[in-house]
């Protein structure tokens, strides 16, 4: 091993080549399904209109000064006092429904994504710790997870809300508590499979520090199933938040999410003012279905039995 530096330095192949190639394979596999591609387009469009809500929506539904009582309960397609057409009508305080849906979608996405990401983080920590250390630590952690999985998520979220109170942060916390168990279970299962493989043993016998084995060797190899679970869980977090808001324990109407819009409109559904709750409902449905379709296709592509 003595003779080292007499040879020229390493010719640098593009270091990203492998990754780029894998990404390209992933993209071409993904686009095999036209439905999933369409769903992805829908998600991107919804993201654009929801996070660009201040630009795209004709009215700011939070700005009370812009609301006019005279515009209340306008039917879809009628022109209001603002001089523009309310495509999806207005609600009981004269709020433009289209704008409210855009803003509501933004809140829903924000809650869904941050709850999903946090639950992923917590789930990974719990699942990896349990799988790597095994024994009593695993027994305790995973039994708690199992206990949680045996309860309906909505019940758990309701209990959490009643403890924490209302508000966006509280909702996110409740969703994380209700959902981390799915990530922990998946991480644990995948990590236990990977842990017994020789490359982990090789890393431990080098020896490398535990945190490095966990996060550099184990974690990257359990990510694929987690990505799949994450897409599904973001969709279900959005739906769960909508349910909580619909039940009246979620967000107040001053910070409308899709759930609270539906809940608000539901009061008038029997007086022929269907648009108040139907349109936010359709918006929610489209968002959740699109995310699920994309998640489904991601699962198919990442399934090792499909690998090329």
């Amino acid at each position: 091993m003595a003779e080292i530096s007499t040879t020229p330095p390493v010719q640098v192949e593009n270091p990203l080549e492998g990754r780029v190639e894998r990404l390209r394979n992933f993209c071409s596999d993904f686009s095999q399904s036209k439905v999933a591609l369409a769903a992805l387009a829908v998600i991107i469009a919804l993201f654009a209109v929801s996070f660009g809500a201040p630009i795209f929506s004709p009215q700011d539904p939070y700005d009370l000064a812009m609301l006019d009582w005279m515009d209340a309960f306008l039917e879809p397609g009628s022109e209001g006092s603002g001089g523009y057409i309310h495509i999806l009508g207005t609600d009981n305080v004269g709020r433009d429904m289209l704008s409210a849906i855009f803003y509501g979608l933004r809140t829903s996405f924000m809650i869904g994504l941050s709850a999903g990401a946090l639950a992923l983080l917590v789930g990974i920590c719990v699942g990896l710790t349990a799988a790597y250390f095994g024994g009593k630590i695993e027994a305790v952690l995973m039994r708690v997870v199992d206990l949680q999985l045996s309860m309906p998520a909505i019940l758990l979220a309701l209990v959490m809300i009643s403890i924490l109170g209302q508000g966006i942060m509280q909702i996110i916390m409740a969703l994380v508590v209700a959902q981390y168990a799915y990530f922990a279970r998946t991480t644990n299962g995948a990590a236990k499979v990977e842990r017994s493989k020789d490359y982990i043993e090789a890393a431990r016998s080098t020896p490398l520090p535990t945190h490095r084995v966990l996060f550099r060797h184990l974690l990257p190899n359990v990510m694929p199933p987690l990505i799949v679970v994450a897409t599904v869980q973001v969709a279900s977090a959005i739906a769960l938040e909508a349910t909580l808001s619909f039940l009246g324990v979620g967000l107040p109407l001053t910070e409308p999410s899709l759930g609270s819009l539906i809940s608000n409109g539901f009061k008038y559904i029997h007086s022929d003012r269907y648009w108040l709750s139907i349109y936010p409902g359709i918006g929610l449905m489209i968002a959740v279905i699109a995310i699920n379709l994309v998640g489904d296709q991601v699962r198919k592509v990442l399934d090792p039995r499909n690998s090329r």
Binding site: M1, V12, G18, Y199, A203, P207
Partner: protein, 347 residues
């Protein structure tokens, strides 16, 4: 026996599976004990000189891989100790094994499992030395390139992922990873068993060349007697967790002393003219959970006598540089009339 690098001193390894909470409660009621103990390695002592390659041979389940893992610090021994240059290789702290040295490195059997599929080959090789600060950061690339060349790969391969390589190339990467730590002892656990025969030869030749260049000391674990003959100076034969015979390779292949060793040699298929039936060892390998009394090999041994059933044979000198654990060569089995072949070799 002057310069001893590795000393395996009366090492035993038992794996126990304790019953779960419910099973333990049932045990308490019924008075049974469902704790399962596997005697993987029992009281093995070996010494390896610097620069020597020691082969460890045995059937699957004989504990040779467990011994390799103990030596490379993945398991801590239940009893006894493994010393490298007089220092303990690994110890158990709060139930977790902590390896104390980087001077022993291991090469695994399956190169498709032993390389992290999500790290580039260059990172895989450089990771250990980088973490342990064995080489300055500036020289890492050079060192990786030099190592790749040393194992017969191109420097530019450092930027590829393991799945872009064949099995033989991957095993070369695994060797480079082990060499990167500048180990004093290499443990090769069935390092060529999963490769095609032609690739096996290439990797073995690489190993032999490296050994010459770097003066490597190695523990070569294998079930393949012809491979072992090719690369090892001395050979240890294991059966059911125990050492049964230890001899210089040439002597062992010329005249095996232990009945198990000779049975092993008889079962190796050979090229030759005409039909040739080969004598398989009678019976199945017993379970290491409940090993036979006395000599573990006695249920399958054609020469077993009454003494073999009760007394565990100790390993004893039998000629220059060799030793064997068998009553035939150490006082008789108690049924001497039935052992015509091996008694003369004892002298």
């Amino acid at each position: 026996m002057s310069d001893i690098l590795l000393k395996i001193d009366a090492v035993s390894k038992r794996f126990t599976r304790k019953p779960g909470v419910v099973a333990a409660a049932i045990d308490r009621v019924t008075g049974k004990d469902s704790t399962v103990t596997v005697h993987a390695v029992s009281n093995v002592s070996l010494e390896v000189e610097r620069g020597e390659v020691l082969g460890i041979v045995g059937e699957s389940g004989c504990g040779k891989s467990t011994l390799g893992r103990i030596v490379s610090g993945i398991y801590a021994p239940t009893e006894g100790e493994v010393l490298l240059n007089g220092d303990i290789v690994a110890k158990e702290v709060h139930g977790a094994v902590q390896k104390q040295t980087t001077r022993v490195q291991m090469i695994h059997q399956d190169p498709f499992a032993s390389l992290n599929p999500r790290m580039k080959v260059g990172e895989i090789i450089a990771e250990g030395p980088r973490i342990h600060g064995l080489i300055p950061a500036k020289e890492v690339n050079d060192r990786v390139g030099a190592l790749l060349e040393k194992v017969g790969l191109e420097r530019a391969y450092a930027n590829r992922l393991p799945h872009q390589f064949s099995g033989g190339q991957r095993q070369r990467v695994a060797i480079a990873r082990a060499l990167a730590m500048s180990p004093e002892l290499l443990v090769l656990d069935e390092a060529v068993a999963s490769l095609d025969v032609s690739i096996q030869a290439q990797v073995l030749n690489l190993f032999i060349d490296l050994r010459k260049d770097l003066g490597l000391t190695a523990l070569f674990i294998s079930h393949d007697l012809s491979v072992v003959r090719h690369v090892c100076d001395r050979v240890a034969i294991m059966y059911l967790g125990r050492l049964v015979e230890l001899a210089p390779a040439s002597d062992l292949y010329e005249k095996p002393l232990h009945p198990y060793t000779s049975a092993l040699f008889d079962s190796v298929p050979k090229l030759g003219v005409g039909k040739r039936s080969f004598a398989a060892i009678q019976g199945e390998i017993p379970s290491p959970i409940n090993p036979p009394s006395g000599c573990a090999f006695h249920p399958r041994c054609p020469f077993a006598g009454p003494r073999c059933k009760v007394e565990i044979p100790t390993i004893a000198k039998a000629g220059t540089g060799r030793s064997v654990a068998c009553h035939i060569h150490n006082g008789g089995t108690g049924a001497e009339a039935s052992v015509p072949v091996f008694t003369e070799a004892a002298a």
